[in-house]
Symmetry: C2
Subunit: 334 residues, 2 copies
Amino acid sequence: MVQRRATLADVARLAGVSSKTASRVFSDKDKVSPATIQAVLSAAQRLRFRPNALARNLRHGGAPHTFGFVMGELENPFYYAVAAGIQSTLDDHGITLIVATTSESAEGEQRVADELLAQRVGALLLIPVSDDQAYLQGERQLGTPVISIDRPARNLIADSVVLQNREGARQATLSLIEHGHRRIAYACNPASVFTQKERLAGYHDALQGAGIPLDVRFESLLDDLNRAPEEVIRKLLAMEAPPTAIIAGNNRMCIGALRAMREMVHPPALIGFDDFNTADILDVTVVSYDAHELGRRAAQLAIERMVDSSAPPIQIELPTYLIRRGSGERPPTQ
Amino acid sequence: MVQRRATLADVARLAGVSSKTASRVFSDKDKVSPATIQAVLSAAQRLRFRPNALARNLRHGGAPHTFGFVMGELENPFYYAVAAGIQSTLDDHGITLIVATTSESAEGEQRVADELLAQRVGALLLIPVSDDQAYLQGERQLGTPVISIDRPARNLIADSVVLQNREGARQATLSLIEHGHRRIAYACNPASVFTQKERLAGYHDALQGAGIPLDVRFESLLDDLNRAPEEVIRKLLAMEAPPTAIIAGNNRMCIGALRAMREMVHPPALIGFDDFNTADILDVTVVSYDAHELGRRAAQLAIERMVDSSAPPIQIELPTYLIRRGSGERPPTQ
DNA sequence: CTGTTAGCGCGTTCAT
DNA sequence: ATGAACGCGCTAACAG
């Protein structure tokens, strides 16, 4: 039998007090006599009372101590580190984080963001997957902080916390050049997203600075979504005058590269973007960064915006670090 | 300037209709004339109206099309896969998933679970970290489905979806025995959680079945939370008459083992529990399973329970598979 | 320290 | 096809 859920009024009745007094027990504990508190609490327990946050937040005009986080790619460890970073900062401020996830589609993003905003969360953090966040414009103007993580929001004035993608890729490329490479390929997939465009630009910067012409053949495979990462790398290495060094634009591509190079006697040099679990064991040189910090900074920004939502939007850029483990320091094989 | 947020009444006024008519546009679209719909929608847009889910759900007595998921360990890739599995099933049913994360503490679990329930989610999925879920008892009796994932709930009658941990560990151990090992260690940390106890039992089953006595020295390091995984393995291998094979009870321990064995000429055999990203590249034999499926089944169960909450609780067990990649097939070195 | 009144924004009666 | 009034559960304001 589904029994009716107990309300504050029920609890109050059982405890022999007014509903407001009962209410106070769950918020303003201070101003209630100990005896009354006891009576109310035991009544609540008997009735299995659980405060209705919906009603409470409705009354309060929102849920300012709950932040929402929209996460697109559920399978990417990087984003969990971001989530953990957000979490840790919010924990210190007594703010609850609710994460709404989607299966990585533009509509999905908007749907869950709308859902969170409909709950009147105090602030919204998101990793954009759609290329248009205009739908959040109104919300921001109503004072809800919106913070974009990893990529800037598009068609929306919002704060953002991103990586120094361009500089990171430039340094990786430079390091390869210093180790004698001249045929260097950048591989990624998809290539059309912000982070990849930036990294690609950094790669170009370095080549140009060293007077190395772009080899357009190497770019022919960019953004080939139909091909598995491993295969993209194989194709690159099967060219004549193949690259002697490869920069993998993300985690997945890097691991694909490792698979492709598994049985090669003289594998090309490899630098990955994004550190990973076993990179040290596999001696993989990577462009690393503090994903936790990305989340922490975003959360801090959101909290600051709660106080002063009219401040001009800012963009924070976090540094990257080249971690040399061997794979990126191999000299050219020919 | 923080302007007041528009309500349905404001929209109705601007559109020149009653608030109920405006309301219908956002729910019962069918029974409103197209012209009115247009008028209301454009008014809504002008005012940047966003429906207040708090009010709506309050009226409805809950948010049945939103499920909550309590996830403890944010850093464990296994749980992302579970989350993704849940998501994919809920997507098919138009249900939104909100994930509340905790910093892996018992109080954290209860706090976020309470928060979710206070939002009156339709169902609660959780990976227990606390060893007592009695606090959810009342909720389940009120008809909210509670599904426990990876570990059964304790002191709570609830459905659960778990792995065949014991059988998986038994098979791994058996395989090692068949390859000639007799000094086999099981390493994990923490060891006090359900999954590890089960796996340890499976390991014991296999040893006993083969008439191999337990070597208590190998168990002395179980649950040594002060020691990093890598160090636990080092300690094991530094014993006299060390194990010739190791079963790592989870991901972290397995990677720790790989680190510890990195420079060994004749590393012991190794089987890990939980598959991971680069296990194929590192030739690591693992006990694998379908983490996605774990999430999907849990979500299905929750949906079924929404319809019939009085059905007796069931426990689903998902199989594990030994994936032989080399590390587990090495013969004993002495 | 405690009770009364009113209303948060919406949707469910009933009417028309 | 549309509208009026009431109430979901809770708390801010004001008593007392």
